[in-house]
């Protein structure tokens, strides 16, 4: 399933604006998730649950934790899609643990 960076960005903006009452216009690649967009760790869980639908993979919590900006989130999805394409195994303790 290949998607261009722009398509991924569009999806990410859609997820963020639909889930967190954000104006899509305010979501820029450089926007920081926890400061500028004012999200918290519970929101982060919900983001990654939704991204699974896009990537078909459970994310690695260590990698997920590093993400600070929308742009990094897009890169993360890109890498996950590539990993899915290659058939890489999932992380041993993936997000989200129940």
């Amino acid at each position: 399933m290949s998607m261009s960076r722009d398509e991924i960005m569009e999806k990410v903006v859609e997820i963020l604006s639909d889930s967190f009452e954000l104006d899509p216009a305010t979501i820029k690649p450089e926007s920081t998730l926890y400061e500028e967009l004012d999200l918290d760790s519970i929101d982060a869980v919900d983001i990654f649950v939704q991204l699974r639908d896009l990537t078909g993979r459970r994310p690695d919590p260590e990698k997920a934790k590093q993400i600070r900006t929308v742009d990094e989130l897009v890169t993360f999805v890109e890498e996950e899609l590539a990993a899915a394409e290659r058939g890489d195994p999932e992380p041993e303790t993936p997000l989200p643990a129940t």
């Binding site: 009452e21 004012d38 896009l54 129940t98």
Partner: protein, 582 residues
């Protein structure tokens, strides 16, 4: 012939109760009197295939059948609901169901296979399994043994358990039948193919398929939902698939689907994607049940008799609770028989156990009736399932998993009072849900495409997982108490969401329907309402965690205009709540 216990009917209920007696009251001499003889067909035998947490715990742990279940049946991926427009593509229908394979086990059971295995096990364990015996009559006697008259002669027994299914020997004889609020009929069949929901969705729907990371969606009991009806798709280990239509009398005539031919036409009209998949597939073992629901006045008596399984009552298959009630009735009866044979049966304890069972039945009949509109409304249904699972896991499952029916009388009394509090809460919840769906503008775009049930890292997921932790009676009570308090906040949130969603004019009608300002007794905190006017972060910091979790899962209603009306309604409600005795 004389036994300590004569079990009349050796279907699932009768065979399970015999096995449980063997395990828990090994000194009892038990006979099972069953009309049919082996062999019985594996897959095409009976409905009642979908087992949920409580009945799975019963079979696996209480009856020690875990290995058999794992080897001979399918582990199930929870209950899954596909709502919305049935005429369009399946992938466009809002989906409610587990995102991850549930940790608390449940199973899809081939009834014939399980009942064959149970018959063999019972025989090995020394139960007198008398096949080809037709029970004609049960004569209950106040003193001395009861008398069971059969096609093969008389059997005397200290205890009689009626497990005759719909034959309901004792219910009919004693005039115990009571009406149920559910008015619905069902028809079902099996197909030799593995019919999987994923086959109804083209490969090109990448995202819909990607959501199912491990390819386990098909292991769910899939419910296709529409106004006044639902269709089940249950996979079976034998390779068969069970399909059934359940439809409410207020919206669907039974004669519309009560023969194989009419069923095909009905499916083509209401569930065309499934009908297309089944087009050339023969229906096997077609069965129907007109107006299937009935209640009872009594299930358990210190006069040494009990009714279990469908011989007791049957409400509705929506959440697969039939075998849960079977599990509870069996367990409660076995406890009483054990007490009796050891010489210390307290009639008051039997009465408490029966009280708890009938209260839970009444609770479920609230949950399972009046749902025609809700079935057609993905947003309300998602909210309902959230609450219904909370209620189910919070009380019924906790009670059963902690084996509280074994407790002494004073503990049983305490838990019955707790059951009553959960019942009251559920009554409030169901009033809101029913009225909300009724008053809502139909055909609104659903808020969510996928509602994870339970969503990860929520109060609900935590409650579910907690069922796997051991708890003694004291700790179980404390947890029920704490969860009940969360439940109060949750039901209040249901009301707030419904009011906001309906907007000012209809909110007043909702308030009227649920008894705001009259008998609505849950407190509505002014802080909760005031929070609606705030920005997101500020608002979230003031919501109870369960309210936020509900919104995360099913979405949030937004209607700024309704806020003033809501505050006014709530003011009246609060005054009433203060006045009403709790």
């Amino acid at each position: 012939m004389r036994f300590d216990v004569a079990v009349c009917g050796g279907g699932l209920a009768g065979l399970c109760v015999a096995r449980q007696l063997h395990r828990e009251v090994p000194e009892a001499k038990v006979a099972v009197l069953e009309r049919s003889r082996r062999p019985i067909p594996e897959a095409c035998h009976k409905v009642g295939e979908s087992h949920v947490e409580l009945s799975s715990h019963y079979l696996g742990k209480i009856l020690g059948l875990e290995e058999n279940l794992e080897a001979r049946h399918l582990k199930k991926n929870g209950l899954r609901f596909l709502c919305g427009d049935s005429q369009g593509p399946i992938a466009a229908r809002p989906e409610i169901g587990p995102a991850e394979f549930p940790l608390v086990p449940s199973y899809q059971i081939d009834r014939g296979r399980l009942e064959s295995d149970l018959r063999a096990l019972c025989e090995q364990e020394g139960v007198a399994l008398l096949e080809g015996v037709d029970v004609h009559d049960i004569e209950l006697r106040g003193h001395g043994d009861h008398l069971v008259r059969t096609s093969e002669g008389e059997v005397r027994a200290r205890w009689v358990i009626d497990a005759s299914g719909r034959r309901r020997l004792l219910q009919k004889k004693l005039g115990l039948r009571r009406e149920s609020p559910v008015a619905a009929s069902a028809a079902w069949f099996r197909v030799r193919d593995g019919v999987r929901i994923g086959q109804l969705v083209p490969e090109s729907e990448r995202q819909w398929h990607a959501r199912d990371i491990d390819d386990t969606r098909w292991l769910s009991t899939v419910h296709l939902m529409g106004v006044g009806y639902w269709v089940w798709i249950i996979p079976l280990a034998s390779g068969y698939t069970s399909v059934g239509v359940v439809a409410n009398a207020d919206t669907h005539a039974f004669r519309g689907f009560n023969t194989p031919q009419r069923m095909r036409a009905w499916l083509a009209r209401h569930e065309p994607r499934l009908a297309e998949r089944l087009a050339d597939v023969p229906f096997e073992d077609f069965g129907v049940r007109h107006d299937y629901s009935y209640m009872t006045a009594q299930v358990l008596s210190a006069e040494r008799w009990a009714c279990v399984g469908e011989a007791a009552f049957f409400l509705d298959p929506l959440y697969s609770l039939g075998n849960d009630f079977l599990s509870m009735a069996n367990s409660f009866a076995v406890r009483c028989i054990g007490d009796d044979l050891r010489g210390d049966l307290d009639p008051a304890a039997a009465a408490e156990l029966e009280g708890i069972l009938l209260l839970l039945a009444a609770d479920s009949s609230r949950t399972l009736s009046g749902n025609s509109r809700i079935f057609g409304d993905a947003d309300v249904l998602g909210t309902k399932v959230w609450w219904d699972f909370f209620n189910y896991w919070g009380f019924s499952c906790r009670f059963f998993f902690s084996e509280l029916w074994r407790e002494p009388l004073d503990e049983l009394r305490r838990f019955r009072a707790m059951a009553q509090r959960w019942y009251d809460l559920n009554t409030h919840a169901q009033r809101v849900l029913e009225a909300w769906a009724r008053l809502r503008e139909p055909g609104q775009a659903p808020r969510k495409k996928f509602v994870a049930m339970p969503a990860p890292r929520t109060v609900l997921a935590d409650l579910h997982g907690s069922l796997l932790e051991d708890r003694d009676a004291e700790a179980a009570y404390a947890r029920m108490e704490a969860d009940h308090a969360v439940g109060v906040a949750l039901v209040t949130e249901l009301l707030v969401q419904a009011l906001l969603d309906l907007g000012p004019t209809r909110a007043a009608a909702l308030g009227e329907a649920v008894g705001l300002g009259r008998d609505w007794t849950l407190p509505i905190s002014p802080e909760r309402l005031a929070a609606e006017g705030l920005g997101r972060r500020e608002r979230l910091s003031r919501l109870p965690p369960v309210a936020r979790d509900l919104q995360r899962a099913v979405g949030r209603a937004r209607s700024d205009t309704a806020l003033a009306e809501l505050l006014r309604l709530a003011e009246g409600a609060r005054e009433a709540a203060v006045m009403a005795p709790s």
